[in-house]
């Protein structure tokens, strides 16, 4: 049995420490040089309900979580019935001895049950039953043969700074006691083991929201105004946590309309400003998006998608806003849309969005989702490429250029590229007005005469031509030629890559992947890449195949099949492979 990789799931009620324990063990594994990928599954409530946290730990790069579980930590009986079917044969379930559990189905499924006196041990050794969580961590390390020192380090860091040395020491005692007991009883019975990787380079554990916020900060973002909304809030919270050190103005506003318009005001006078929200909040911001388009203000908006319509499934994930953000707001104006697919791409989107926004003086939307927002991924140093960050402010006139201006400044000068050299308010030679009405080159508004409109509207839209040429085309993963080409965008990258790997392992040359991160304007280079595909299967997390429609509208290429997921749970390789079988069955394909 493979000892290089295993998946652990923690499950229980909100408030039982499912997420904090899971994230703690993830950190310990990352410190041991292992790669980790996590997926959290939780409900929109503070206490109760049913939550789970999945960790995939491997000595190879883990790009996504998998559906099967080797070790289940069940914090209540429901966790067993809910997740029993996910545990592989020979896998095990750790439970507290005092918990009444249905043993028969566990046995029937060929699973092992590892009862342990977690609560008693926590009370006896640590002095508090709350430390049951810590006992569970110790037990997990024991059965997987994982070096307890890494877990101890995380416990020290987690408790030491917040609750003091005495609390940390009590927790360490509990972890050690549980480690010994569980090791003695079950260590030999659990076949999957975690070994620390010797001399592993320093790796970093973070989620897409953190990466996006960090990339934005590196890219000069010093202003965020937002209204809290799951799953976007942690972008706002991350920048706020770093506000003092990096002089970031961070402002929680009364609503999303105020959040986006405040960001427009800040961007207008020259700050790199953003707002982050989810689809419902984005809906409210739509009018202001058009304002930024007409006023040519470089605005960055993050839409962390969750399933809709309306309030939908607040803590789940989705890709259902694509066509909405592509068309949101009345009339026509240039906008750019980026959809990063993993932690590295979130970091890149963070600074690229600002460069694009300032180069084209128009709004840029970053489309992420609940999955990217909350899944922790271990990355290597080169996946947070600070060295590649460039701050490109586009055609921005500095004070010296303005001092030497001979003619009156025309903010909206008609140019071939559509980009007019921009002056920030505050210079004596560049006093101008910026109207949301149609306006002249000098900003005078209510300029509705035909000739002026025929100059200004095409001027703005011309920006899209240059942008289309510089948008990154899809990245190819897998062999250049394949029987089936999977097509995806944004957050499903890891799942698609692993699905392609599995297909090629069983039949070399059977599949490859074209993954899009730059969605709008639709990259000019996409057509060539798509032309080489024989059978095109679009995979996305919405019901109607929004990307497939975009693809067809922009390239004329009609995808052969569509695999969708709308249950709010993130795409996995297993889900793709399962659905690919059905696709192949229907068309009688030999491909997969």
């Amino acid at each position: 049995m493979a000892v290089h990789e295993l998946s652990i799931k923690l499950a229980g009620e909100a408030g039982q420490g499912v997420e904090s324990n899971g994230a703690g063990f993830a950190r310990a594994a990352a410190r041991a040089g292992l790669y980790v990928y996590t997926a959290s599954d939780y409900m929109s409530r503070i206490r109760g309900g049913h939550n789970s946290y999945l960790l995939r730990i491997s000595d190879q790069k883990a790009r996504v979580h998998r559906d099967s579980v080797h070790l289940l930590l069940a914090f209540n009986p429901h966790a067993i019935t809910a997740h029993l079917h996910e545990v592989v044969p020979g896998g095990a379930i750790i439970v507290d001895e005092g918990m009444r559990i249905p043993e028969d189905p566990v046995k029937a499924a060929g699973l092992q049950l590892f009862p342990l006196p977690l609560k008693d041990l926590a009370e006896r050794v640590g002095g508090s039953k709350i430390m049951l969580n810590t006992a569970a961590l110790g037990a997990t390390a024991a059965v997987t043969g994982f070096d307890l020192a890494y877990v101890e380090g995380v416990i020290r860091d987690n408790f030491g700074s917040k609750k003091g040395a005495a609390v940390a020491e009590a927790n360490l005692k509990v972890a050690r006691a549980a480690y010994e007991l569980a090791g003695d009883r079950y260590g030999r019975r659990f076949p999957w083991k975690l070994h620390a990787v010797e001399d592993a380079p320093r790796r970093y554990l973070l989620n897409g929201n953190q990466a996006l916020a960090m990339g934005a900060l590196a890219g000069g973002c010093r202003f965020i105004s937002a209204y809290p909304m799951t799953p976007a809030s942690s972008i706002f919270e991350w920048l706020t946590a770093h506000a003092q050190r990096f002089n970031v103005v961070s402002k929680q506003m009364e609503d999303e309309i105020a959040a986006v318009t405040m960001a427009i005001g800040a961007a207008y006078v020259g700050a790199r400003a953003m707002t982050a929200t989810s689809g419902g909040g984005f809906s409210l911001m739509v009018e202001a998006l058009g304002l930024a388009g007409m006023a040519e203000v470089p605005l960055v908006v993050v839409d962390a998608q969750r399933p809709g319509p309306s309030t939908g499934m607040p803590t789940r994930s989705d890709q259902g806003d694509l066509l909405f953000v592509t068309h949101a707001s009345q009339g026509e104006f240039p906008r750019l849309i980026l959809a990063p697919g993993n932690v590295r791409q979130c970091f890149e989107a963070g600074y690229r969005a600002f460069n694009l926004a300032e180069r084209y003086q128009t709004p840029v939307i970053v489309l992420t989702n609940g999955f990217l927002a909350s899944s922790l991924e271990t990355v290597d140093a080169q996946d947070l490429p600070f060295d590649e960050v460039r701050i490109d402010r586009g055609e921005l006139l500095d004070a010296a250029a303005l001092d030497g201006l001979e003619e009156p400044y025309a903010r909206f000068r008609v140019t071939e590229s559509g980009v007019s050299p921009r002056a920030l308010p505050g210079h004596p030679k560049a006093v101008y007005t910026t109207p949301s009405d149609e306006h002249t080159e000098y900003g005078a508004f209510e300029s509705e005469d035909v000739a002026n409109r025929l100059q200004q509207q095409p001027k703005r839209m011309r920006k899209l031509e240059a942008a289309r040429a510089e948008m990154n085309g899809p990245s190819l993963y897998g062999p250049g030629e394949a029987d089936v080409t999977l097509v995806g965008w944004g957050s499903t990258l890891g799942a698609l890559q692993e699905a392609v790997d599995e297909l090629n392992r069983s039949r070399p040359g059977s599949a490859n992947l074209l993954h899009f991160t730059d969605l709008w304007p639709f990259p000019a280079s996409a057509e060539g890449a798509l032309a080489r595909a024989r059978q095109l299967v679009v995979v996305e997390e919405n019901q109607t195949g929004q990307f497939a429609r975009l693809l067809r509208a922009e390239t004329g290429r009609r995808p052969d099949h569509l695999i969708t997921r709308i249950d709010g749970r993130a795409m996995t390789p297993d889900y793709i492979l399962e659905n690919l079988k059905e696709v192949a069955l229907h068309v009688g394909s030999q491909a997969v």
Partner: protein, 290 residues
């Protein structure tokens, strides 16, 4: 004092002859000239409506935004560039109706902006519907039987939420109005100047005559103390035979929002250079992720 001609725009106002907005425009120019604020040092942010066209008719930085949103845009500009004098210009519908929530929160935030509300008690640009400040019973195209709601009392609303500067002016008295604008511009914090401004086309009730017979200047009342919240509250509710204009209330010594933001200690983000992160800064960020 700077020359008033400095603020002359090349664009000719499209307001109706006799519109109260002319008085406001002239008074604003006078206040800027008196305070020696140059056109490039001030930013007017407006919403949508007749009065919101004002930035186009004055030589100064201007941003006409969308309906109701002047206040958050203005606050964003001020927080990003505290060196600018920022003036939000809204109408009564714009400021108290669609933008009512922003009004409420701008008051309690106390960001150093001046908020001028051209309050004509009717919707002008959409041709005569009742507005949040129209009197109960006001007959308009959308209230043929008379408005059922009570009117919003912006002065009382501002006082109740902790505004540090609350004033009312009358566009028929531009000299007095200019002095109110100047005081508002000088006030550190959010300053509201609600301006009674006749709409000569759609409001046949609140005319120049109506106001001229009723308004009186608070500063001419020797007993009035604009630092006394109780007196201010009382006068904010005075509407009928006598209508007060002037500074109703001013609270000094209250720190502005931006003075309390550590990130703004060295100026706003729009005023600072944008260097890449230093090696030490990157390392500190990465250390959090291990």
């Amino acid at each position: 004092m700077l020359d008033l001609k400095l603020y002359k725009s090349e664009n000719k106002p499209t307001w109706c002859p006799g519109c109260g907005d002319f008085g406001i425009l002239n008074a604003v120019k006078q206040a800027l000239a008196d305070l020696e604020i140059w056109p490039h040092e001030v930013l007017f942010v407006s919403g949508i409506g007749c009065g919101s066209k004002l930035p186009d008719y004055i030589n100064a930085n201007g941003f006409t935004t969308v309906h109701g949103r002047a206040l958050p845009v203005a606050q964003g500009a001020k927080l990003a560039h505290p060196g600018l004098h920022v003036v939000a210009v809204t109408g009564d519908g714009d400021g108290y109706g669609i933008g009512g929530n922003h009004f409420l929160h701008a008051i309690r935030r106390n960001i150093d902006i001046t908020h001028i509300v051209e309050d004509n008690l009717v919707y002008g640009l959409t041709k005569g519907q009742y507005s949040p400040t129209s009197a109960k019973g006001f007959v308009s195209s959308t209230t043929p039987e008379g408005a059922i709601e009570r009117a919003v009392n912006p002065l009382a609303l501002a006082l109740a939420n902790g505004a540090t500067f609350v004033a009312r002016g009358f566009s028929g008295d531009p000299k007095h109005l200019a002095s109110l604008f100047a005081q508002a511009l000088k006030h550190p914090g959010y300053a509201l100047v609600d301006v009674l401004q006749p709409c000569v086309i759609y409001n046949r009730l609140n005319t120049y005559d109506f106001y001229e017979q009723r308004v009186y200047r608070l500063e001419e009342d020797a007993n009035y103390d604009p630092h006394d919240p109780e007196q201010a509250w009382q006068r904010a509710h005075e509407w009928g035979e006598r209508i007060p204009i002037g500074v109703l209330y001013q609270e000094s010594g209250v720190p502005t929002y931006e003075e309390q933001v550590p990130a703004l200690a060295q100026g706003g983000p729009a005023q600072r250079p944008m260097p890449p992160l230093t090696e030490a800064e990157r390392e500190a960020l990465l250390a959090e992720l291990v």
